[in-house]
């Protein structure tokens, strides 16, 4: 199998040409491309609130007044009601040694 260099590169002969990298020049290149169908394809960033990672649900009946208390506390802390239930569950697990 051949292993020798087929040619040697004289780095001194390789020069980069001066290029205009100003926003105006890039915009000109983009406009030229758009007329030929070379358009933006990168996905745009999604706007708005990110989807919550809390996808599980609990279905619990509780005594009257408790839902209001949970809702008010969550509102006061600026968290979802699920956060309070998660915290309560952690405390229960610690208490029960689960």
């Amino acid at each position: 199998m051949s292993d020798g260099k087929a040619f040697n590169i004289d780095l001194g002969r390789l020069k980069s040409r001066e290029k205009d990298r100003s926003p105006q020049a890039i915009e000109k290149a983009e406009r030229a491309g758009e007329e030929l169908g070379f358009v933006a394809r990168d996905g745009q960033k999604r706007r708005g609130r990110k989807p919550s990672p809390r996808t599980g649900q609990v279905h619990a009946k509780v005594m009257p007044g408790i839902p209001e208390e949970i809702a008010n506390e969550a509102k006061r802390r600026g968290v979802q009601q699920g956060v309070l239930i998660e915290e309560a569950w952690i405390l229960y697990k610690i208490k029960s040694g689960i």
């Binding site: 980069s16 040409r17 290029k19 205009d20 020049a25 000109k28 491309g33 030929l36």
Partner: protein, 219 residues
């Protein structure tokens, strides 16, 4: 050092194979090469992950429309050649990369479909030359060619030559070793033998030399 952009809006034209053959042969000949993987299919990165990279080669992955100009600027410095492998679609990323090129290479299979779509890259180069008031050297290389040249190949080559398109000689032939780069990584010289290795190495080296000569003459 020069920036070489491999561009064709046609998928499957051989852009990534061309980029790897060019990058590895230029590095083998003594140049430091930075390869930018701008293809969402990450073909260059897949190759790079297969085996330790050959000496004097670096691969940067996930270069996107928003950072292509900045990334080329950062690496277009003394002592290294930048090779940009683009995605096979007509996109703004392609326009931006071409605006920063010292040489654009359009790989093209010798079929009417490839030629028809590939020519759009040449049109884009011409439009950008006018818009930027700068000459952007560009060449076409036929890829996956057969030992016996088809009538379609000859007809397309003549048509392009009549239009003043610079065709790289030799073309890149269809070779087991070229496609095996994505299986073994590295370069042609350190992979297990695949078919006619001497022929494959000679083909790749002469192609890279032809590209180098154009860069050196244009400097």
């Amino acid at each position: 050092m020069p920036t070489i952009v491999i561009a064709s809006p046609k998928g499957g034209a051989g852009k990534s194979t061309t980029a790897i053959l060019l990058g590895t042969e230029l590095a083998h000949a003594g140049a430091n090469v930075v390869m930018l993987d701008c293809d969402p299919n990450h073909s260059l990165t897949l190759w790079a992950d297969r085996a330790p990279l050959p000496d004097r080669i670096r691969v940067l992955s996930n270069v996107t429309e928003s950072d292509i100009v900045r990334t080329i600027k950062q690496h277009d410095t003394d002592g290294q050649i930048v090779v940009v492998d683009l995605e096979g679609v007509a996109s703004r990323l392609v326009s931006r990369a071409i605006s920063q090129a010292d040489l654009v290479i359009t790989p093209m299979r010798a079929t009417t479909l490839d030629a028809t779509i590939g020519v759009r890259a040449l049109q884009l180069v011409a439009e950008e030359e006018e818009a930027l008031d700068r000459k952007i050297p560009h060449v076409v290389v036929f890829t996956m060619t057969k030992a016996i040249r088809s009538k379609q190949h000859s007809s397309i080559a003549e048509s392009l030559a009549r239009q003043g398109v610079d065709l790289i000689d030799p073309p890149l032939m269809e070779r087991a070793a070229f496609s095996a780069l994505f299986e073994f990584g590295g370069n042609l010289r350190n992979m297990p033998a695949q078919g006619n290795m001497d022929g494959a190495i000679e083909n790749a080296a002469l192609f890279a030399r032809a590209v180098y000569m154009r860069l050196a003459e244009g400097a």
